[in-house]
């Protein structure tokens, strides 16, 4: 672990869940009420987590309709399994485990994602150049994510968008923590390559 040359230190802490913005937080009391069968509390749970779940599913499935279907599926399963939820685990890690499973299943059925793997890519219309401060348009996100494998995409999103710890992600994906780190590293490397290529391309013009 002790390297001869100095390690480059990063701005974001290792393995601590990155703080994220959510519009509303679910209180522990409401969560426990929902677990104990209170339908009003469960409605609040759905309202709180729906946007995050939809965000994740959309990035994985690329189609809003499929993502919504997947998220609905997830909450039905959450409702069935909630009484088994133990507080040892963070709730969102538990929730995302179910959601990721549903997304994987949905992806196998999916045909629309193949758009990004076909030769028709050349004929995709260019993105509008009107941007403000690093804004990235939707199609560019899909193109960037398309360069990743499914596993890398899932791991990257769970880590850097949903803010789960490596342990959480390992539980979600059913693999070792080291394997998760590798997937996230590779995802970051691939995304950086893609972005650097784009920069280089622009500079050469």
């Amino acid at each position: 672990m002790t390297a001869a040359r100095p390690r480059l230190l990063r701005a974001i802490p290792n393995n601590r869940p990155a703080p994220i913005e959510v519009p509303v937080v679910l209180s522990r009391e409401t969560l426990l009420s929902a677990r104990d069968g209170d339908p009003v509390a469960f409605a609040q749970l759905v309202r709180t987590y729906y946007p995050r779940c939809l965000r994740f599913a959309q990035h994985l499935l690329s189609s809003r309709e499929d993502a919504e279907e997947c998220v609905q599926d997830t909450f039905v399963r959450v409702h069935r399994a909630l009484h088994r939820y133990e507080e040892r685990e963070r709730f969102d890690a538990w929730l995302f485990r179910i959601l990721a499973n549903r997304c994987r299943t949905a992806r196998r059925r999916l045909t629309r994602w193949s758009l990004f793997h076909s030769a028709d890519l050349d004929r995709v219309t260019p993105i509008s150049t009107s941007r403000v401060d690093g804004f990235v348009a939707r199609d560019e996100i899909w193109h960037a994510l398309a360069g990743l494998t499914e596993e890398q995409r899932e791991a990257f999103l769970l880590r850097h968008v949903e803010g789960l710890t490596y342990e959480d992600i390992a539980a979600v994906a059913g693999i070792a923590v080291t394997a998760v780190r590798m997937r996230v590293s590779r995802a970051c490397a691939r995304l950086r390559d893609t972005i650097n290529e784009a920069d280089a391309e622009r500079r050469n013009r």
Partner: protein, 224 residues
């Protein structure tokens, strides 16, 4: 061909690197090198390194000279070591960080040990943070430590300690001197803890077993 298309599309979109002033706070190689021994030693000791990184980043952002940053990170690592020793066995990362903060404001190691005796693994952090918070508000560290320790020994829950902190804040904002506010609110809490209904179902006041199980520590009331 596909890569070129992606490149073109992204080229149109992603634009230039952000201006230097808004870039992520980075550590230059000489600072990284200077911090390496401290960070490596801390990691080898099993201390959480995120707070040490954060302290370094704080120093960079505040434009502190390199020697000061190195000194501050080393001092924090030492405090975390000391806190962990006092909060043994099995202190969580959060407890270690909270303990280091308490030590920094002048709370003694003995106080940390006492809190540990009465709070199972994972639950010592908040009492220590309330102590530090009160000290920053203008209460003498000894008084803050004394008040919170007595409350903890008396069976106060974390919610009650947090409520105490909120009450003191309210008083101070109304113009009451912090030590006076803490004294009167502590009395109120003591009465609350001693209330007959509390005694019947109240939290266990005997010291917790030192060999607590891993994972979350929940205080369960013991019926007499």
């Amino acid at each position: 061909m596909r890569r070129a298309s992606i490149a073109v599309l992204l080229a149109l979109a992603l634009g230039v690197a952000p201006p230097a002033s808004s870039q992520a706070v980075k550590l230059d190689s000489s600072l990284s090198a200077a911090l390496s021994p401290t960070l490596d030693a801390a990691r080898a000791d099993g201390l959480p390194d995120a707070p040490l990184f954060a302290k370094a980043q704080e120093g960079v952002l505040k434009r502190a000279p390199r020697e000061r940053i190195v000194g501050a990170v080393a001092a924090l690592a030492d405090r975390m070591r000391a806190a962990r020793a006092e909060l043994a066995p099995n202190a969580t990362d959060h407890e270690i960080i909270a303990g280091a903060e308490a030590l920094a404001v002048g709370v003694s190691g003995q106080v940390l040990r006492t809190v540990r005796l009465y709070r199972p693994r994972g639950t010592a952090a908040m009492p220590l943070e309330v102590m530090a918070h009160l000290a920053w508000r203008g209460v003498a560290p000894v008084q803050a430590a004394d008040a919170i320790t007595r409350a903890v020994v008396g069976g106060a829950t974390t919610a009650q300690l947090v409520a105490l902190d909120a009450s003191v804040r309210q008083d101070v904002e109304s113009g009451v001197a912090p030590p006076v506010a803490l004294t009167s609110r502590t009395r109120g809490l003591t009465l609350q803890l001693q209330a007959p209904s509390n005694r019947a179902t109240g939290a266990d006041v005997a010291p917790q077993s030192m060999s607590s199980s891993p994972g979350a520590g929940r205080v369960r009331p013991r019926k007499p």
